[in-house]
Symmetry: C2
Subunit: 296 residues, 2 copies
């Protein structure tokens, strides 16, 4: 069987890592990078402003900000290309995007996978498994300390901000504080920028402090982490304690999960899926049989 | 839609918990317990020596020793009943059972789910997800300290043993020691029993110490635990650290996972599956949409 040809849309933190992940995957081939401006892409990496220029493409990894995904994904599905995105807004917004992309995907007989990061994404699967093992109980998801890509992108989009880095600080048991480091545009007013960041949907639920920095070194953090704990009850048993902990370089982990989803997309019936709707074994290279021998 | 009617085959540690789990599940109904001898089953719980006596049954939970599963599961599949088992032998043995049950299941248009415990089972899914997030790297699974049901059952089946409890002690990084507490039959020889336990396939890979006990209180431990760690590489990023830790009452967790698999079986195409081949969301009660809103 030929390799699945994958293109990467966008060449930011996640896009750059996705190129490396695809090149290392035994069953995938890099079709190239799609980007509005082609500067900054190394000479060895095929790149184009339109996906049609990259030859046949089986799947597109949308390594672009969440707010651009609802409009971008359908255009690839209509061209007969599977899509994978890292849409990062939980709950109803995610469900509504999934249902919308499902219509587009079924119309063109293709597959869309949405929310293919680590949270939402693999963490969502962990929360599902914890509920399976201990259906009674409470689950807490504590992020950080570390860099949130979604929040950094959202803060960078605020008027007057050249670049922003949003750090998530866990207060424990599902509560967080955020510190946002911003490099301001010439003449921008910190107080006004700070107010706009605090009112943004990404930030309004959490206590958020904003700091102006001139030194871009402040903006280089890419580490993140998470701790998911469940105080659970199974059958007659109390005191079932389940915990997942990860320390991750955030864009690399996200890219790796998106690449795995591009592989799984080739194995699914037309439609749109969140990660928890996909058999986990189909996210891995090689056959189910090989993976059962090795990992089960 | 009507509730899925589930029977429990066997009424040991796992079977007893499974009855409680089924009664608490909003979408399942207890058809009853199937057991050779009907003593010890509380009056409120329907029970029979043959499954036909329990009325319509959609799924059978085989809460019986692993070595009895390969012969038992096909007889339920042939009767048109989905099966769920907690077969606990990893690797090739698991793959071969899955392929054998797949033939039986397809012939009768039913579903078998094998290895539906926490290891193999949900831990296998964790190992898969860890490989997805960080495809490079090393995973270590450390069990215990705690009671292994598979090893206790295997040791209890050795001639001269009335009852045995096998405790798994983690030495770290995938290596274990085992302590087996045995209540001997009258006139049995400890040295001979110990030799037979050490030569059993369940024990021969690990350093195993055997102790004779008269006090049955020694044999009541049901707690277990696991720690899965991955030292991983994602894309260009080293130092991706992933860890799962659980402390569980073992039979209750296992029963709960088997019950979730009985639910999932009703949502799958005919065939045999290990847990990692099933969309995790289908292990949960209520619709995919509800679970996406709540857990993704």
């Amino acid at each position: 069987m030929g390799k699945t040809r994958v293109c990467v849309v966008g060449y930011g933190n996640v896009g750059r890592e996705a190129v490396v992940c695809i090149e290392r995957a035994p069953d995938l081939e890099l079709a190239g990078v799609v980007r509005r401006a082609l500067c900054g892409i190394p000479p060895g990496v095929p790149a184009a402003t339109r996906v049609e220029e990259l030859g046949p493409v089986d799947a597109a990894l949308l390594a672009i900000p969440s707010r651009l995904i609802p409009a971008s994904a359908p255009s690839y599905l209509q061209r007969g290309i599977n899509t994978v995105d890292g849409y990062d807004i939980h709950g109803r917004a995610m469900l509504s995007l999934r249902n919308d992309l499902a219509n587009h995907a079924r119309q063109s007989g293709r597959v869309a996978i949405t929310g293919a990061g680590w949270d939402p994404g693999t963490d969502s699967i962990i929360r599902m498994l914890f509920s399976v093992i201990a259906p009674g109980g409470l689950t807490f998801t504590d992020f950080g300390p570390g860099m949130s890509m979604g929040h950094s992108t959202a803060a960078s989009a605020i008027e007057g901000v050249k670049k922003a880095l949003s750090i998530t600080l866990p207060l424990g048991y599902g509560r967080h504080r955020r510190h946002v480091y911003v490099e301001l545009e010439q003449g921008a007013d910190l107080a006004e920028v700070a107010g706009n960041i605090r009112r943004d949907p990404y930030f309004k639920a959490d206590r958020t402090e904003i700091f102006a920095v001139d030194d871009a070194a402040w903006l280089k953090v890419a580490a993140h982490g998470v701790r998911i704990t469940r105080l659970g009850v199974s059958g007659t048993a109390q005191n079932q304690l389940l915990e997942l902990k990860m320390r991750l370089t955030n864009p690399a982990a996200t890219a790796q999960i998106m690449v795995a989803a591009a592989r799984a997309a080739a194995r699914l019936e037309p439609g749109c899926y969140v990660l928890g709707e996909i058999p986990p074994i189909d996210l891995l290279p090689s056959s189910r049989e090989e993976n059962i021998k090795k990992l089960v």
